[in-house]
């Protein structure tokens, strides 16, 4: 019952979405038929949305992202929730923007963590 990135449990996101990224070209032949050529496997992309997250939880994710950038090695990602599981998958990490809507002592922030299957 956890979200595990690079062997570390990260905070559960407030929202989670998963989309498929297939690479294909579509051609229409003279008989009107629409055909597709697929290249490579389907890849999944997860978008984990965090809201009002405290600095400590952000720092855990940020450290993994920094490690991904500095080592240039895709990280392991798995989810073991009761009704949503992802077996260990190697992913690229994007952590692009961090916004603060509650400052004060805690600096609670909003950010999106995007994981793309390698």
């Amino acid at each position: 019952m956890a979200y595990i990135l690079d062997g570390t449990e990260i905070r559960a996101p407030h929202e989670l979405s998963e989309k498929n990224d297939s690479q294909y070209a579509q051609n229409r032949t003279l008989d009107g038929q629409v055909n597709r050529d697929y290249f490579g496997d389907n890849k999944r992309v997860w978008r984990l949305q965090y809201k009002t997250t405290n600095a400590t939880d952000y720092a855990v994710i940020r450290a993994i992202y920094n490690s991904y950038l500095s080592n240039a090695i895709a990280k392991s990602w798995s989810v073991t929730e009761p009704n949503y599981t992802i077996s260990a998958t190697t992913v690229h990490i994007d952590l692009i923007e961090r916004g603060f809507n509650v400052k004060g002592e805690d600096y609670l922030s909003n950010f999106d963590l995007i994981l793309t299957e390698a």
């Binding site: 229409r28 003279l30 008989d31 055909n35 597709r36 050529d37 290249f39 240039a72």
Partner: protein
């Protein structure tokens, strides 16, 4: 003929949804799997690593190299094979690959690279492309291209991509020059091409050569001539084709290659469900007037081909020798060496340069050191104790002289009436008689005098399709002359094919055809 594939493969190729498979193999290190040396008697060990078959400096067989599998980095591939239109000749195939370099695997050392390939991202690397489909759980591909990189692979730090371009081994012909003269008489085109291939160091397993129909009465390739020009002219005179196939094998097809099975039967029926576009070409291909020009050389009977000019005597020191070259105007097929007692080839030596002294011919012996196409080198040995002068030298032999020029013109009147004159000129030294020029001209007019004969089709790729294959499209038969394949996620796996309309003709065969039957005399 189409490459051999399973029925499941052809079913997948016509499927509405196809999973494309590909393979890119690059020999970055350019190391071979036969050892680095060619077997040398007295040096190499039997059972050792030195190889037999590929000679030093030979134009390579693709299979001798060790390759890195770079398939997982491929972003797009493209390759093109063609036959030379309209009159045949030598053609080379070309290919390019766009490779992902996010990992820095293909970054050269001088750009900061540190991968196992950082010193090997260089031009002239052999590479092979295969393509097909993924079905039944595995990638099933057929060979599509084998060649060598032609330029430095291009990469830049920002795009993180590597562009790799190359041509097949035919490209080598453009940079190879004959290092010795080759002269021949009365040989079929295939015999001459095989001689040229062997002079390039190729082994017989590297090529397949038709015999040819054209007999060339006399041919001379002078030292320093480029191979591609010779081979192109030979194939054009034959109305044949020289090329390298998808697996790296060199082939020469003569003009009758397609007249027998399997080339005279349809290899693939093209359905509208496979064709993305059909395009009419412009009038560039139209030919309704053919002009053939050729210098005619003929073997001459034995005659005097060299006579030392008056006052051109040369001396031979006492008890010594001198070597002299003698040049001829025409290529020499046979030469009679001079002797002191010769009647057609002889020499005279005197004690004085003007020929007025004592005759010392008996003191001189002559040795032929080397005969070349248009020259000979003799060694004159003086066995006396005083200087001798060669005052007369007459050489006799058989030469091949240019006796005139062949000019032949043929036109298709109905095509000229319909489309105005579209002339095509052939200058070729290997067309040696008017009947052969007439035959070649008529075949060209038959193929290219009609605007309807050519078509360009864009199709969902048929990876096993090869040039020369006969296909059926909209109830007509077409011969494939050019295939440009592209494997790219933006456009799919598609091919642009150039096809020439054909009428299947069965030619007369002794013992099989009947006189008065429908079989025709082969051109």
């Amino acid at each position: 003929m189409v490459q051999s594939v399973s029925s499941a493969f052809t079913a997948e190729e016509r499927d509405t949804v196809r999973s494309i498979a590909h393979s890119l193999q690059v020999s970055w290190k350019k190391d071979t799997n036969i050892g680095n040396r060619t077997f040398t008697i007295g040096v190499s060990l039997i059972g050792g690593n030195d190889g037999i078959g590929i000679n030093p400096g030979a134009i390579g067989g693709a299979s001798i190299y060790n390759y890195f599998d770079e398939s997982e980095y491929v972003m797009s591939l493209a390759w093109e094979h063609g036959l030379k239109m309209p009159a045949g000749g030598l053609t080379k195939a070309m290919a390019e690959a766009e490779i992902d370099n996010t990992s820095g695997r293909f970054t050269p050392r001088y750009m900061g690279g540190n991968s196992e390939l950082f010193t090997s991202v260089l031009p002239s690397r052999p590479f092979m492309i295969s393509a097909g489909f993924e079905f039944e759980g595995i990638d099933q591909t057929v060979p599509e291209f084998a060649g060598v990189g032609t330029r430095q692979p291009r990469t830049d730090a920002r795009s993180k991509r590597l562009l790799f371009q190359g041509a097949d081994y035919v490209d080598f012909f453009q940079n190879r020059y004959l290092d010795q003269e080759i002269m021949f008489t009365a040989q079929f085109t295939g015999q001459v091409i095989e001689t040229l291939f062997q002079s390039l160091g190729m082994s017989t397993s590297q090529y397949e050569v038709d015999q040819g129909i054209n007999i060339i009465p006399f041919g001379l390739f002078e030292k320093g001539t480029r191979f591609d020009g010779i081979i192109d002219d030979l194939a054009q005179a034959e109305y044949g084709h020289v090329f390298q196939d998808e697996t790296g094998k060199f082939k020469f097809w003569d003009r009758q290659h397609w007249d027998t099975a399997p080339y005279n039967s349809v290899q693939r029926l093209l359905l509208t469900g496979q064709v993305i576009n059909a395009e009419a070409p412009d009038t560039d291909h139209l030919i309704n007037v053919v002009e053939v020009n050729a210098p005619i050389r003929q073997k001459q009977p034995a005659q005097t081909i060299f006579n030392l000019p008056p006052l051109s005597s040369f001396n031979v020191p006492s008890n010594s020798f001198t070597e002299q070259f003698f040049e001829f105007q025409d290529p020499v097929l046979a030469l009679t060496d001079p002797t002191s007692s010769g009647t057609v080839s002889y020499f005279v030596a005197n004690s004085l340069a003007d020929g007025t002294g004592t005759d010392v011919t008996a003191s001189i012996t002559v040795k032929n050191v080397g005969t070349f196409a248009k020259s000979v080198k003799y060694r004159f040995q003086n066995n006396s104790a005083s200087t001798a002068y060669i005052t007369q030298l007459v050489l006799s032999g058989r030469v091949a002289k240019q006796v005139g020029d062949l000019y032949y013109r043929e036109k298709d009147d109905s095509s000229v009436t319909a489309y105005q004159e579209h002339p095509y000129k052939i200058d070729n030294p290997y067309i040696q008689n008017a009947s052969w020029a007439a035959s070649l001209s008529r075949m060209l007019l038959n193929d290219f005098s009609d605007i309807e004969n050519l078509q360009k089709l864009t199709i969902r790729a048929i990876p096993e399709l090869q040039n020369g294959d006969l296909i059926s499209w909209q109830g007509r038969y077409w011969r494939v002359y050019n295939i440009r394949s592209k494997l790219d996620p933006d456009v799919g796996f598609v091919q642009d094919i150039m096809v020439l309309q054909r009428t299947i003709t069965t030619y007369f065969r002794i013992g099989m055809s009947t006189i008065g039957g429908s079989d025709k005399i082969a051109p």
